[in-house]
């Protein structure tokens, strides 16, 4: 498992941010909600499998933690698996942002 300093991949960052946003907006960041938030914000087509696999991988890396809600009939008697970002993820996200900020500092790209 990578330590807290391990850099995040682009898609991992996107997923982590989508989890944070969904948690703040709806309270429960589960698969479909995270996927919807991701598609709405990034405006790009993403494979659902990629979202679920990344959520799973981030949890195994310790960047997300998950909990199960009560099973409901709308879900065929299954529970929701909701995700929360961990402290390690918050630190990694901040570090990623600072890295990008430092790289952008003083740069002006002309229109291509």
């Amino acid at each position: 498992m990578p330590g807290p300093a391990a850099p995040l991949g682009e898609f991992e960052q996107v997923i982590l941010l989508a989890v944070v946003r969904t948690s703040q907006n709806d309270g429960e960041a589960y698969g479909i909600a995270v996927y919807d938030e991701l598609v709405a914000r990034t405006r790009r087509r993403v494979a659902r499998g990629a979202v679920y696999m990344t959520l799973d991988r981030l949890e195994k890396k310790g960047l997300l933690s998950s909990y199960l809600t009560e099973p409901t009939t709308e879900r065929g008697g299954r529970a929701r698996r909701c995700y929360r970002v961990t402290r390690m993820a918050t630190a990694a996200l901040r570090e990623s942002r600072h890295t990008l900020d430092r790289l952008w500092e003083g740069l002006e790209l002309g229109r291509s």
């Binding site: 479909i32 659902r48 499998g49 696999m53 709308e74 299954r78 529970a79």
Partner: protein, 866 residues
């Protein structure tokens, strides 16, 4: 790949979304659901494959694996065939290993298991085979004689699972095998329950209305109670009559296995093992722990000495000729059998034979894939020659070949283990009741280890032949030197003939067993299968008022809403046993073995046997005992050439007129049609094994709970003991046949695929060795179809020899399958058509595909092969 809890959550997410979308269009929502679900699964599998392949290509693998994968991808037919054969044979072997591991290899999971023995008594003048029907008096006497040898008794009901635990709708209750145990059971086995336990007073409650104390096995706790940790103290009532309530007092550890010959899942604390408590439907097993240092022979002699002190039970005469008589009579001989051998002894040889057969198939599969790799090596001669010319050493060439073989074996084994899961589910569903492995049958680490070791050995063995060829003289030179005149060698032809013969034998055996099962399935059973049968126990014989009592019960049951009709038949239903008739055959018949089925009014309304002539007896005729119906077989036997309707028979002095002839029925077993006399229940004189047949309105399931309640309200003279849909009983009656069909079917299918690969490999190798010859022939004007004909003809002779010799072996071997045959004889034309067609198709594909490839070769390229 993702874990199952994650997949479960994803399924929940998709279901939630589907329901939202279903508000617009439910069909579109369903399509969306499946697309999304499959998309996620495929993505996850692809990702996994990418991870694995990426991992192989890392610096440690020096790019060899990537090259191998590219090489395999360039020959998809070869790669897929090889992987499929390895997957099939490994799947079969892994499934068989998962089952037999518990029987052959796993030690009994008890502390100092070698001390545990079963004491089996017998009479000096009888065989010691059969159940150990130990009398409770014996148990007491032996215990007194052996104070230094801990001893316990377990009583196990005979036959199919004996209790039903409610886990849903009543008719779907879980069938559970129970056993009664005494207070020393856990102490002798040295087992501690995982949860709870039995208190000494648990063994004192028997019939004062309090629930009985019960221990559950871990598997039952998981299945019926979802592994609920608060299950201790819960009172559960068995769904059938008598509605015995039991309190769950403990859960046994996962490693526990029932030390009884039938695999019990629930153990009742009982005092019923004490003298006086006898049962006609159970037998007792006595398990002892002989401490190390004590002589088994001395213990045996002490038991025999104690046997003489057991007085004969005064009731023995009453039960003459029954199992109970053996339980009540004193024994005078004893044998001591190690517990492991006692539990599994009869299964060991079968398990060993099946396992050996599976290993032979794996070996054959490996040899054939090795042949394919050799053939491919011939085709890639130029590649290998170039590598050698560039300085590749022996190790490099071996590694080159091994990488390819190992990749095929690893992918094939992974697919095989994946295939083993559904195969194992099917195997477990068809296992006979009395199959009793010593561990839960599952794809666990032991099975995975077996697959890994088999794969490693297989990969190494499969590398030997191709590597030897690659390292020998240049394959191209070999090809050149043998080019023009070489035909298939006698060894190759013998190999083809042997493989075809083996395939033919297995195909005939498989077709015989599977075909017999299909024939049984297609047999009409002679009664309507949609009814439900409720076994009854009548506490007093229905003489005098008995018949009226049964009639009153039927009236009560028919009034239950949802019940269309109900009737009683008094015969052992689908238990492979026949009961004689009370009706005397005509004077002209010396001896007959027709079955008697005493019936009440209403029975024909439920069972609806097909009428061949006449009519059903009416309710009043059955009540008065003046009319009966017979089945076709009885009519033909009693009155050959004459109409049966109108004939008379006598029973207990009364004259009865035959008013109808119906089709023969299968009340013993689905695979046995018997001649039946449907005689009035009133002529029976006493109750034997009554079964209440109930049919729901418009073919729906009858309301069993209400029917049981109605029976329960009649008082203690009648008790329902089992509830079985007739379809289920019919299926159970041929359980052994289903198991054999699955076993033979799987092995035959595996053998056919393996033979096909063998032929593919051998013919491909011959074709590759003759590339130059083919090129010359084609350059001189030979057409592709002539080339195909030439190569196929060379193989055809060996195939025909294989089919004929395999057929002869099958005819000889069929005698050992007689018990599993049904109507279908070994000379049945359908059997030979199916088996020969299967072999010809397999051999045809095996010979034709490589021949076709050879015929498509460019003559210029072929002539440059060296």
């Amino acid at each position: 790949m993702m874990d199952s809890p994650i997949l479960d959550s994803i399924a929940g997410d998709l279901e939630e979304e589907r329901r939202r979308r279903a508000a617009k269009s439910s069909a579109a929502a369903r399509v969306w659901f499946w697309r999304a679900w499959l998309g996620i699964r495929i993505y996850s599998v692809c990702q996994r494959i990418r991870d694995v392949i990426g991992g192989l290509g890392r610096p440690g693998g020096r790019g060899e694996w990537r090259a191998t994968m590219r090489s395999l991808a360039s020959a998809p037919a070869y790669s897929l065939t090889s992987v499929a054969v390895i997957a099939l044979s490994m799947g079969l072997a892994t499934t068989v290993f998962a089952v037999v591991d518990g029987v052959l290899f796993k030690p009994l999971p008890f502390t100092r298991a070698d001390e545990l023995v079963v004491i089996r008594p017998f009479h000096h003048d009888s065989s010691q085979d059969g159940p150990s029907a130990v009398s409770p008096n014996d148990v007491v006497a032996w215990r007194a004689a052996l104070p230094d040898v801990p001893l316990t008794a377990a009583r196990v009901p005979l036959g199919a699972p004996s209790a039903r635990i409610p886990i849903g709708p009543e008719i779907n209750a879980l069938q559970v095998q129970t056993a009664d145990i005494d207070a020393d059971f856990l102490r002798v086995l040295n087992v501690q329950p995982m949860l709870g336990g039995l208190a000494p007073d648990s063994f004192q409650v028997t019939s004062n209305g309090l629930p009985r104390s019960a221990l559950l096995t871990y598997a039952l706790w998981q299945t019926a109670f979802g592994g609920d940790p608060h299950v201790i103290g819960r009172v559960v009532t068995i769904t059938e009559q008598p509605r015995v309530a039991f309190e769950i007092d403990g859960v046994l550890p996962p490693s526990f296995v029932s030390p009884t010959r039938v695999d019990a899942q629930m153990f009742f604390a009982t005092t019923a093992l004490l003298p006086g408590a006898l049962s006609r439907r159970a037998y007792q097993e006595v398990i002892a722990r002989i401490p190390r240092g004590q002589s088994t022979e001395v213990v045996r002699q002490r038991i025999e000495a104690a046997m003489s002190s057991v007085p004969p039970d005064p009731r023995a005469a009453q039960w003459a000729g029954t199992l109970l008589a053996r339980q009540t009579a004193p024994y005078d001989r004893a044998t001591i059998v190690p517990l492991g051998r006692y539990v599994n002894g009869w299964q060991e040889r079968i398990a060993l034979a099946v396992f050996a057969a599976a290993l032979v198939l794996v070996l054959l599969g490996g040899v054939n894939v090795s042949g394919l790799v050799v053939a491919r090596g011939c085709q890639r001669a130029r590649d290998i020659v170039i590598r050698r010319a560039l300085g590749a050493g022996t190790l490099t060439i071996v590694r080159f070949v091994f990488a390819e073989v190992a990749t095929i074996v690893v992918i094939g084994t992974a697919a095989g283990v994946g295939l083993a899961r559904p195969m194992l589910s099917v195997t477990l569903a068809v296992l006979p009741f009395d199959f009793h492995p010593l561990k839960s049958v599952a794809i666990d680490w032991r099975v995975a280890a077996f697959a890994a070791i088999a794969a490693l050995l297989g990969a190494v063995l499969m590398t030997v032949a191709p590597a030897r060829r690659a390292l020998g003289r240049s394959i191209a030179i070999q090809a050149e030197s043998t080019a023009i005149t070489r035909r298939q060698s006698p060894g190759s032809r013998a190999n083809i003939a042997t493989q075809v013969a083996l395939g033919m034998t297995l195909a005939v055996g498989g077709a015989l067993i599977v075909g017999s099962l299909i024939d049984v399935w297609q047999e009409p059973v002679g009664f309507d299968r949609r009814a439900v049968a409720i076994s009854l126990r009548l506490r007093r014989a229905p003489q005098a008022g008995g018949v009226e009592d049964v009639a009153a019960m039927l009236e009560r049951v028919r009034r239950v809403p949802g019940v269309e009709s109900a009737g009683v038949m008094d015969a052992m239903l689908l238990q492979n046993a026949m009961q004689g008739s009370q009706v005397e055959p005509p004077a002209s018949i010396q001896a007959t073995d027709v079955g008697g089925v005493p019936i009440t009014p209403g029975f024909f309304d439920v069972a609806r046997p097909t009428l061949v002539a006449g009519r059903y007896p009416t309710a009043s005729e059955l009540q008065a005992g003046t009319a009966l119906a017979v089945s076709s077989m009885v009519a033909g036997e009693f009155w050959p050439g004459a109409p049966a309707v109108g004939q008379t028979l006598t029973a207990n002095g009364a004259t009865l007129t035959v008013v109808g002839v119906v089709e023969d029925a299968r009340y013993m077993s689905w695979d046995f049609a018997e001649g039946v006399i449907y005689e009035p229940y009133s002529t029976l004189g006493h109750s034997r094994t009554p079964n209440l047949f109930v049919r729901g309105v418009h073919g729906a399931d009858p309301p069993i709970a209400d029917v049981l309640a109605a029976i329960g309200s009649l008082g203690s003279w009648v008790q329902a003991t089992r509830v079985d849909p007739l379809d289920e009983l019919l299926a159970q009656s041929i359980r052994d046949r289903r198991f054999n069909a699955w076993l033979f079917g799987a092995f035959s299918g595996g053998a056919l695929a393996i033979v096909l690969t063998g032929l593919l490999g051998l013919v491909a190798m011959t074709a590759a060795q003759r590339t130059r010859e083919v090129g010359v022939r084609m350059a001189l004007g030979a057409t592709p179809d002539r080339v195909v004909g030439l190569l196929v003809r060379e193989t055809a002779g060996a195939v025909v020899i294989g089919i004929v010799s395999g057929g002869l072996v099958s005819i000889w071997a069929a005698r050992y399958l007689k018990a599993s045959m049904y109507q279908m004889g070994v000379y049945d034309p359908r059997l030979w058509t199916a088996a020969t067609a299967a072999m010809l198709i397999a051999a045809g594909i095996g010979a034709f595909v490589p021949a076709l490839r050879a015929s498509r070769i460019d003559p210029v390229r072929a002539l440059r092969v060296d």
